[in-house]
Symmetry: C2
Subunit: 129 residues, 2 copies
C-alpha cells in the first residue's frame, strides 16, 4: 500500500473519529474551505458550499443522539491531488444497530499538503429480506 493511500485512509478514519466525538470545530477543520464542497447525508438533498455543509454538521453533531461507527470495507484511490474512499458505515446508536450506509468520501490536497474533505455522500443500504 502506497504512502498516499495510507494517508487517504487515515484522513477517512479521522472523519469518522471526529463524527463520533461530535466536534463541530474539528469537522470544519477537516473540510476544505472552498465553494466546491458538497455533502449528502443519508436521505437528504445534497448541500453545497462551506456555510450549508458546516451548518448541517453543527446540527447533526449537536443533536441528542450519539452515533458510533464501525467502518468497514474502506477502499482508497489516489489520482494526483484527489483521493476518494468508499466504505460502509455500520451505525450503532443508543438503541443498538441503526443499519448501514454506503459512503463515498472525496478528499483534495489542501494548501499544506494534507487531505481535506471536499465531498461526503452517504446513502442508506436497504436491508435484504
Amino acid at each position: 500500500m502506497s504512502p498516499e493511500i495510507i494517508d487517504a485512509l487515515a484522513a477517512n478514519a479521522v472523519f469518522y473519529e471526529v463524527f463520533e466525538r461530535r466536534s463541530s470545530e474539528a469537522m470544519e477543520a477537516l473540510w476544505l474551505d472552498d465553494d466546491s464542497v458538497s455533502c449528502t447525508h443519508p436521505g437528504w438533498p445534497t448541500l453545497h458550499g462551506p456555510a450549508a455543509v458546516q451548518q448541517s454538521w453543527r446540527r447533526i453533531l449537536g443533536g441528542p443522539q450519539h452515533l458510533q461507527f464501525i467502518v468497514s470495507d474502506e477502499r482508497a484511490h489516489v489520482v494526483g491531488d484527489v483521493a476518494w474512499v468508499t466504505c460502509v458505515e455500520n451505525l450503532l446508536g443508543d438503541d443498538g444497530p441503526q443499519g448501514s450506509t454506503a459512503a463515498i468520501n472525496l478528499f483534495r490536497r489542501g494548501p499544506a499538503g494534507a487531505w481535506r474533505m471536499v465531498a461526503h455522500h452517504a446513502g442508506p443500504v436497504m436491508q435484504r429480506p
Copy 2:
C-alpha cells in the same frame, strides 16, 4: 465556464443519455476499465470492480422499466485528471414521477484523454412532509 468543466458536464450528460436509452455496451464504454471503479445504486451496497459494476448495469438496463431522467443542479469540479459532478436525478417512470435521487459522479481522464466514469453513487432523497 472552463473547457474542462464543460467537458465534465458533457460526460455526465452522456451517462444519463446512455442510461435512458438502455445501452449496456455504451454504458460499459463510458466507464474506466479499472479495478478502482465503484457503483452505488440507490439503496444498494456499493459494487466494486468492472465485472460487478457492469453486471449491475446489464440487469438494470435490461429490466422492464423505462426510466427517464430530468437531471438538475449539475455542478462540476475538475482537479487535474479527476472530475466530479453532483446532480439531482428526477426520475420519471412508466407510472409517472418516481421521486428523486442525489448523485455524485466521479470521472477520470482515460488513456485517450476523455473523461471516463470511475464512481457513481446515487442515494434516495426522502420526501419532506
